[in-house]
């Protein structure tokens, strides 16, 4: 079903477009350690793309390459049909890529609202003076951004903790706030690094629903790393499987599930 045709509709009625991002023969080394070895795959517009693999397989490194945080020694990253040069973080944000982190990276002392507000930084254009005096453009901008943030708060159903400092929240909610901050940047491509790590079943179900809803409501393309196989198979349209820095499988959840190399990597066989 995923051949070269430009766009098509999935069985559940979503439209998946052409290639948005393409990784071509990526190799990433840290000194002598090869984290990623000659990996190629693509991400299509509107899909949910999962990257899975055992611990140390290089998944997070891969996500960091996608986000532009790491520059691979070999290979090319193509985004929207253009080859991407090394970038600064704000340039990544401007391109419409946002992410969440495996270990939550929020401002613990700030309220949920303020944390999500930081995600709107890219939309604040008024100058320092105007901001400081709270005058003219700064005020109009704040109102507009606050409105966007309130929509996200409503979307993620966290109205009751709007003013609560993030440090006081339980883990599952912090994860949701982090998703909120990423959404505030109105990304085209959302990267989620283990969005469900450490969650109980109920929290996982909630998070899965939010991920599907984000994809559906905002038409956001999502690339995620996840350990929970059940979740990955249910959520994603296509899965890349990595092991020891190499790609060992790529395809729909069903294809991947029946791939011998993947089964071996997960169940464990002796490596030569």
């Amino acid at each position: 079903m995923f051949d070269d045709q430009e766009s098509f509709t999935t069985p559940d009625g979503r439209t998946i477009g052409g290639v948005m991002m393409e990784m071509k023969n990526i190799t990433l080394r840290f000194g002598g350690v090869v984290a990623i070895k000659d990996i190629s795959f693509d991400i299509r517009e509107g899909e949910i793309r999962a990257i899975i693999g055992p611990n140390g397989a290089g998944k997070s490194s891969m996500l960091n390459v996608i986000s532009g945080f790491y520059n691979p020694q070999e290979g090319e990253v193509w985004f929207h049909g253009e080859k991407r040069a090394p970038m600064k973080p704000y340039e990544v944000a401007q391109q419409g890529i946002a992410r969440t982190f495996q270990n939550i990276a929020l401002f613990e002392g700030m309220s949920v609202l303020d944390n999500i507000m930081t995600g709107r930084l890219g939309f604040m254009k008024s100058g320092l003076l105007s901001q400081a005096l709270w005058w003219g453009k700064a005020e109009r901008e704040e109102v507009k951004n606050r409105e966007a943030v309130e929509k996200i708060i409503d979307f993620l159903e966290i109205q009751n903790i709007r003013k609560t400092p993030v440090g006081r929240l339980p883990y599952g909610l912090k994860k949701r706030v982090e998703l909120g901050r990423a959404l505030a940047a109105e990304p085209k491509l959302l990267l989620l690094d283990e969005p469900m790590a450490g969650m109980n079943v109920e929290e996982k179900e909630d998070m899965s629903r939010f991920i599907l809803d984000v994809n559906d409501e905002y038409s956001t393309t999502i690339a995620l790393i996840e350990h929970d196989m059940g979740v990955v198979m249910d959520l994603s349209d296509r899965v890349v499987v990595m092991d020891y820095g190499k790609k060992i499988g790529d395809g729909t959840p069903d294809e991947v599930r029946n791939n011998q190399a993947v089964i071996d990597a997960y169940l464990g066989v002796a490596h030569d």
Partner: protein, 656 residues
């Protein structure tokens, strides 16, 4: 007789009241809802326009007079409007509990024969789609919140916004039809159908006419001098008759503003922001708030704690008297004023009660300490007694005659009589028309003269004329030795301890009473934290020996207090256990209004009951639990059974 009551002018239906308000109070706020962090408001004129648009949209979808339109979701203006719009079209609105599972929902939908269903959000739509597998005849689903619903099959589904837009667009064609439908409505047309929560069996559909609702609203609004300036917070289930009377009946009659919170969990914040003047809550809400305050005061600094204790003592001493207008010494008055400045004022503000002029609690008995706490702060909290069949009001307490142990005098227009067996009967303009499709139950509840059996046993106090309720008439029984058994009386005494959330006393036909107790997690957890008791789960905390000791103390204190009453001294608790799970409506152990279902509990926990009446020290048990999404699971536990000390009766030595 009820039928002799004359209509007030032309105001004989909710749509007529609405039109009246749109004229008289055109620019006063009618509805507010917090959304996206901001209170949005609609004036009566705007609300009337919105409701017309919805009604015309319903007409466009083919809503016929007499059709049933089910409404399910949290309290939102759009849902109240849908109810009024359905009435305008001559259809009959039926409100459902939003936390009902698909099975319960299916029963009601099937029974009432709903053709249209208005849902709050995707969750409710999903349930209705499930229901449609077994219940046919649901023709149109309409939803308020669009989220997640875009990809659903819309051949018989619409967003309320779109329905409204369609109605507006076609108003030249539809408005004359709508006006015709409205004109037909009179005092005897059905206003709403509400289902009883069903303590004893399947829910029954109570049909209430415009007369029932409007007469009741009028009388009760007069009783408490409600005006268009009141503010209420609509947070109790739409399907509950109380919310219907407060947020539809009285609001439409008096023209006051109904405020809808942002969501279930923001209720406390929203309460504080709105500062209602007229407030209703079941005892559990007051209990929880008091428990929260006490927990926070335990954690407060020593100075603050002492200040709080000092002024609360003064409040308890003179607060209720001041509220009742009784004479209080000048010194106490001054001290109370200071207390108001330092403690009561800020506390009331935190609780959201700064502006409360009239507050009611009902549904269950409220603990005297809890009741007095709020009254001593200067909050005019009163009790009322009512039921769905009466359009709520049977008795209520007038200002200045408020006590924790009575439920007040008959409400205006209500007659009360106690029959030989002690059961309370009433007759009023609010008495329901019938149980829908259940002539048999209607006949057994309401006699030809309009007297309705409440199912509660009680008596009227000679000195004050106030009604006192003892228990459900069905639950009052005899013990093996012939002594009177009133479980609720003992359970309430137990529940007044903050550490005990729920209690079930067993003993009908037995030689002695035993009890099953649910701990209150927030109160006991806070106690555990202060006393270095560690635990990993509800179950572990509930089974902790120190917790059991604490509950045992409570039980023994209750036993001592029960002995005071000669008639009920036999109801002392001999043995008890603390349950390993919280009683839950999803498991059928409670009704959706959080009342205990004795029969279900007795059957489900029959092994535990048996053990209580044996000599066993502990019992191993397996219990089925239902999760919120409808899946089922098993939990297992070994519960210890404790003997409690019982006290000598006045004239007879107790068994131990």
């Amino acid at each position: 007789m009820t039928d002799a009551t004359t209509p007030t002018g032309d105001l004989t239906s909710i749509p007529a009241l609405l039109a009246h308000n749109a004229q008289t109070f055109a620019n006063r706020p009618a509805y507010r809802e917090k959304e996206f962090g901001i209170w949005q408001s609609w004036t009566w004129a705007e609300a009337a326009e919105e409701i017309d648009a919805i009604a015309m949209g319903f007409l466009a979808l083919g809503l016929e007079p007499g059709d049933k339109l089910a409404v399910v979701g949290r309290n939102r203006p759009a849902l109240y409007w849908s109810i009024a719009a359905a009435q305008k079209c001559g259809a009959i609105p039926v409100a459902l509990y939003q936390d009902a599972n698909a099975e319960e929902m299916a029963f009601v939908m099937e029974h009432c024969g709903a053709r249209f269903v208005v849902c709050g959000d995707q969750e409710q739509v999903d349930k209705v789609i499930d229901v449609q597998e077994t219940v046919h005849g649901i023709d149109q689903i309409i939803y308020v919140d669009k989220r997640g619903l875009r990809k659903y099959d819309h051949t018989h589904m619409n967003a309320l916004q779109d329905v409204q837009a369609e109605g507006r667009a076609a108003h030249f064609r539809l408005e004359p039809i709508l006006r015709e439908r409205e004109a037909v409505l009179d005092y005897d047309s059905t206003c709403v159908m509400l289902y009883t929560s069903g303590t004893t069996g399947k829910p029954k559909g109570v049909v209430l006419s415009n007369r029932n609702i409007i007469e009741t609203a009028k009388n009760s609004a007069d009783f408490d001098h409600l005006t268009e300036k009141e503010e209420v917070l609509a947070y109790l289930p739409l399907a509950w008759v109380g919310d219907f009377i407060f947020s539809m009946g009285q609001a439409m009659w008096a023209g006051f503003c109904v405020n809808c919170p942002e969501g279930e969990h923001t209720m406390m914040t929203d309460l504080r922001e709105i500062g209602p003047t007229y407030y209703f809550a079941p005892p559990r809400v007051f209990e929880t708030q008091l428990t929260d305050v006490m927990i926070r005061m335990e954690d407060a600094g020593r100075f603050k704690k002492r200040l709080f204790d000092h002024y609360m003592a003064i409040a308890r001493k003179v607060g209720p008297d001041l509220l009742d207008g009784k004479p209080v010494s000048a010194g106490d008055k001054l001290r109370y004023r200071l207390g108001e400045l330092f403690i009561y004022g800020p506390l009331k503000n935190t609780l959201g009660f700064s502006n409360v002029r009239v507050g009611y609690t009902a549904g269950e008995a409220i603990g005297p300490e809890i009741f007095d706490f709020y009254r001593s702060l200067g909050i005019n909290l009163k009790q009322l007694y009512g039921q769905t069949e009466a359009s709520v009001f049977i008795t209520q307490q007038p200002d200045n005659e408020v006590r924790a142990d009575t439920v007040g005098v008959p409400s205006p227009g209500v007659e009360i009589r106690i029959d030989e067996s002690g059961e309370v009967y009433y007759r009023s303009p609010g008495v329901f028309v019938e149980y829908y499709k259940n002539a048999e139950s209607t006949a057994s509840t309401k006699d030809p003269e309009g007297w309705v059996a409440t199912g509660d046993a009680g008596f009227i106090e000679e000195s004050s004329g106030h009604l006192r309720i003892i228990d459900r008439a069905k639950d009052v029984g005899k013990m093996a030795d012939g002594a009177m058994f009133a479980p609720k009386y003992v359970e309430n005494k137990l529940k007044f301890y903050p550490n005990i959330l729920e209690a079930v006393v067993i003993g009908a036909g037995r030689d002695r009473c035993c009890a099953m107790v649910n701990i209150d997690l927030s109160a006991v957890a806070s106690w555990a934290e202060r006393n270095n008791v560690s635990y990993a789960s509800y179950q572990e905390l509930a089974g902790h020996p120190l917790v059991l000791n604490m509950i045992q103390e409570h039980v023994e204190e209750v036993n001592a207090s029960v002995t005071q009453d000669e008639m009920l001294a036999g109801c002392q608790i001999h043995r008890f256990l603390v349950l390993h799970k919280q009683l839950d409506a999803d498991d059928g152990e409670l009704t959706r209004t959080q009342k205990v279902r004795r029969a279900v509990i007795a059957e489900k926990f029959s092994d535990l009951v048996e053990a209580l009446y044996s000599d066993a020290e502990s019992i191993y048990t397996e219990t089925e639990v239902t999760y919120e999404d409808g899946r089922k699971g098993q939990i297992t536990a070994t519960l210890s059974l404790r003997d409690a000390k019982v006290f000598d009766r006045a004239h007879q030595v107790a068994a131990e």
